[in-house]
């Protein structure tokens, strides 16, 4: 079994699976159960400033979308930060950390955007013995309307300013949690970096309405006939999160800035993908909220099994390995030519590839009277749509046309030289056209 021990910002945890700041980490009771189940760390649900806690709605606070068999694909929530007194949380954090010294305990914080508010709370958090803090600049509902959460996360200058305060009044690692509800994720990441953040974590939830009740004509979840946008998370958001993590990982201005990845991690594979794109660890919420804390056991066995297969002995061995292969479109090799190939042995003759190609792509699949589907090489642009709609995994594949052979669609010989858009003759601003 590979050793999953992960060191992130100098904080050691037995595995890279942390529970994200969310309902699963709101109380000592839950966190103890999580640690017993095997979670490597938790980010305690966001604490607010001293005083009367926030109140939540008393109607439904979650909405979801599902697959046909009720597999939960996306979850949305309108819950706020912890609605329990600050002192209660601080006492519980202290006790839990003392009892689980080998697990990471990070405290998420969201207080008003005033230096005094941070100066007040940070020493109290430091006194708990927790390993670090995470600044909640992401929450898109409720708190944002009060000038906190994503209202801060959407203004890079604020991010930098608050991060600087935290570094000033707190001695341990400071993680800045980023909102995806922004045009270019690199800007808030750069601001956090400029404020000396030790790491960024992302993504927080995405503004969303999961569904509309067509009888009451109200968005769901509905509270007294009205609804509001909530924060979207779960498996459906993973591709968005992967991209944002990669953008930060490959940005020259933030390169090397540690990342704790969040967004739809459900199995070991999701975690491995985020880590390959540069994340030092991952945070999980929806999977735990859907299936309970025991989901971490599969994540642990799966990641460890895969690492054994690949010969990785530490998570450090593969973190960031895929980052150099993330590039901009303009640098993709235009001389790389593939054609779809349909395995007649595997084909079950559903004709989805034909319908998709004929109706919506390049009319590059032929259908015979007896339902044999074949690719027309002189029409196939290798778009991959047929591969994606084929219900049989591995039945349609993309085969590279080797250099020296003719691409029947263009009539040109495939070159073995790398050539991208920046040098293409059709590009009016080509820099090195032949």
């Amino acid at each position: 079994m590979a050793d999953l021990t992960t060191e992130f910002l100098g904080i050691k945890s037995p595995n890279p699976f942390w529970l994200a700041s969310a309902p699963p980490t709101d109380k000592e009771y839950n966190v103890r159960r999580a640690f017993e189940a095997g979670w490597g760390g938790v980010v305690w649900k966001t604490l607010g400033a001293e005083g009367p806690p926030v109140v939540n709605v008393n109607g439904p606070r979650y909405g979801a979308i599902w697959g046909a068999d009720r597999r939960l694909l996306g979850l949305n929530n309108i819950e706020l930060i912890t609605d329990r007194p600050l002192q209660t949380n601080l006492e519980e954090i202290t006790r839990v950390k003392k009892d689980y010294p080998d697990r990471a305990v990070i405290v998420s914080i969201m207080v008003p955007c005033e230096e005094q508010a941070w100066k007040d709370i940070l020493p109290q958090v430091e006194a708990t013995g927790a390993d670090g803090i995470e600044l909640n600049f992401g929450c898109p509902h409720g708190m944002a309307e009060r000038g906190m959460g994503s209202a801060v996360g959407q203004v890079p200058e604020y991010i930098q300013m608050v991060t600087e305060w935290c570094k000033k009044y707190y001695s341990k690692p400071v993680i800045v949690k980023l909102t995806p509800n922004i045009t270019d994720i690199r800007h808030p990441a750069r601001a956090a970096h400029a404020g000396n953040a030790d790491a960024v974590s992302l993504i927080n939830t995405i503004n969303s309405i999961t569904s509309v009740n067509l009888d009451s004509m109200a968005p769901e979840p509905t509270i007294g006939g009205k609804g509001t946008h909530g924060g979207y998370c779960g498996p459906a958001v993973k591709p968005i999160a992967l991209n944002m993590v990669a953008e930060i990982a490959r940005d020259p201005q933030t390169r090397g800035l540690p990342i704790s990845a969040i967004g739809g991690v459900t199995t070991w594979r999701d975690a491995a993908e985020f880590m390959a794109l540069g994340a030092g660890n991952v945070q999980v919420c929806t999977a735990a909220m859907t299936y309970g804390f025991n989901v971490v056991k599969e994540m642990i066995s799966g990641l460890s099994n895969w690492m054994d297969e690949k010969g990785y002995t530490s998570t450090q061995d593969f973190i960031g390995m895929a980052v150099p292969n993330v590039t901009d479109w303009q640098y993709l090799d235009l001389n790389y030519v593939t054609k779809a190939r349909i395995s007649q042995e595997d084909c079950i003759k559903c004709g989805r590839c034909y319908a998709a190609c004929e109706d919506t792509s390049h009319q590059a699949i032929a259908m015979s009277e007896d339902r044999v589907f074949t690719v027309k090489d002189d029409e196939c642009v290798a778009c991959n749509l047929c591969v994606n709609v084929c219900p049989v995994e591995g039945c349609i594949t993309m085969e590279e046309v080797p250099a020296g052979q003719i691409d029947e669609r263009t009539g040109e010989v495939v070159s073995d030289e790398y050539a991208n858009w920046t040098t293409h003759p059709n590009n009016p601003s080509a820099t090195a056209a032949e």
């Binding site: 697959g67 046909a68 068999d69 079950i348 559903c350 004709g351 989805r352 034909y354 339902r371 219900p391």
Partner: protein, 444 residues
């Protein structure tokens, strides 16, 4: 007190009411909404779908399954019923394993087809449970059409004709409509009086008058019908039954399987229906299986199907064979009856092993005897009582692709007519298509 399995002779009440109720419950219980959504999600929405091609009524199966998946089974039902007005019954009785589900690409892929029949039932049941009839009649044409035979073909033709604005009178020799749906299909395939409920629902279209106890050749004549109506559609089924042609056939305890099934279907209380201790069914089609399985379900101790050819040649599908076997029916292949023995009542049947050479069956000379206090003959039904004026093809009324007979103004469809398999769904298709042709011919 129930009579036991072992009681000799033909006895009622071999099982108590609870045992009977359990045995004759729905073969394929209906889906609930969630099961239907999950089953529907398995459909790949194939292009030019093989299932649709395999359906004799050409129901747009991918379309109706998609409508179920998207949460509107009523539209799905309409998609089905537009092509097949008896879609509810066909969902229950179609041998889907040899039709749509056999060619489902998921059968190819993983040996588990999309359960098209059960999905179809979910859609049609949902609509029918609302008591709604989704079709309305076109403006009256003033034309009158006679339909003889209220089975699947006749009902299908009548509905389509009524929908197109014609006035229809449906005659049937029996006292109830439905034909084989009502009298000739295993009870566990169509429970809770579904056949009659479906007819009642179908008649909501209006414009159809039912006239029972009217038998062609006795109470009705083709000439009189031709005289009184603008067109005549014959769907008289196959009223005759092939004989065993073996000594002892006339003994007590030997009867036609179709009569037994009809009696069973009409029985109010199956504990009162007698069945033998040792039942032997001669034949290899669906009727043989229906008779054999239901005998077993009534509590017969030993039930054997004796078929003169091999398993591969059996008319009943492998699914039906397996169903029979799972209920404890013994299947014997390559045996044919040579005599029924007994003194007055059947006690044993003598079978001879057979060989098949060039498609012809002959005895090998080796025989065996089985205890048999009840013998059901299920060796095929024949056309009977058809008007003499009509040309035949083989042993059926000759029709063209539109159902036209050799006599102008007379159409025929269903089991009595040439072409197509003798299935409910085929009968529905033939009735519908003949109705369309009658319509064009009348309105032309």
């Amino acid at each position: 007190m129930a009579t036991s399995h072992q009681a000799s002779g033909i006895q009622a009440a071999r099982l108590d009411a609870a045992g009977i109720a359990e045995n004759f419950s729905d073969l394929h219980p209906p889906y609930d909404a969630h099961e239907a959504a999950v089953a529907a999600d398995r459909c790949y929405f194939c292009y030019d779908a093989p299932c649709m091609t395999a359906c004799p009524t050409s129901i747009d199966i991918p379309q109706f399954i998609r409508e179920i998946q998207a949460g509107h089974p009523e539209s799905a039902a309409r998609t089905i019923l537009e092509q097949n007005i008896l879609g509810g019954m066909c969902a229950r009785v179609c041998p889907t394993e040899t039709l749509c589900e056999e060619v489902c690409v998921r059968e190819t892929a993983e040996g588990k087809p999309v359960e098209i029949g059960r999905l179809q039932r979910y859609a049609t049941d949902t609509l029918m449970a609302k008591g709604e009839h989704p079709f309305t009649r076109a403006a009256a044409t003033g034309k009158k059409v006679a339909v003889v035979g209220a089975g699947p073909a006749g009902l299908s033709a009548a509905h389509r004709l009524a929908m197109l604005g014609h006035d229809v009178v449906v005659y049937d020799a029996r006292s109830k409509p439905g034909g084989l749906n009502e009298f000739g299909i295993a009870a566990y395939k169509t429970t809770n009086g579904f056949a009659q409920r479906e007819v009642d629902w179908l008649l909501q279209i209006g414009g159809i008058t039912m006239d029972y106890g009217q038998k062609l050749g006795e109470d009705l004549s083709l000439d009189a019908l031709k005289e009184a109506y603008d067109a005549v559609f014959l769907s008289i089924g196959l009223a005759g039954v092939n004989a065993l042609r073996a000594p002892g056939e006339d003994m007590d305890g030997v009867r036609d399987a179709v009569d037994f099934i009809a009696e069973l279907r009409q029985a109010d209380d199956l504990t009162t229906l007698p069945v033998g201790r040792n039942v032997v069914v001669i034949g290899g089609g669906m009727t043989a299986v229906d008779a054999a399985v239901q005998s077993k379900l009534l509590g017969a101790e030993n039930v054997t199907i004796a078929y003169r050819r091999s398993r591969e040649e059996m008319g009943a599908s492998r699914f039906e064979q397996d169903l029979a076997a799972s209920k404890g029916v013994k299947l014997m292949f390559n045996v044919m009856p040579v005599a029924v023995h007994g003194s007055g009542a059947a006690a044993e049947i003598e079978l001879e092993y057979t060989q098949v050479a060039d498609g012809k069956v002959s005895g090998t000379g080796e025989t065996l005897r089985l205890a048999a206090d009840q013998v059901f003959k299920a060796i095929g039904q024949t056309l009977e009582g058809q008007p003499e004026a009509l040309a035949l093809e083989g042993r059926k009324i000759k029709v063209d692709a539109s159902g036209r007979t050799s006599v102008a103004g007379v159409w025929a469809g269903g089991d009595c007519a040439s072409g197509g398999e003798d299935l409910t769904v085929t009968a529905v298709a033939e009735g519908r298509d003949a109705a369309m042709d009658i319509h064009s011919s009348l309105m032309g």
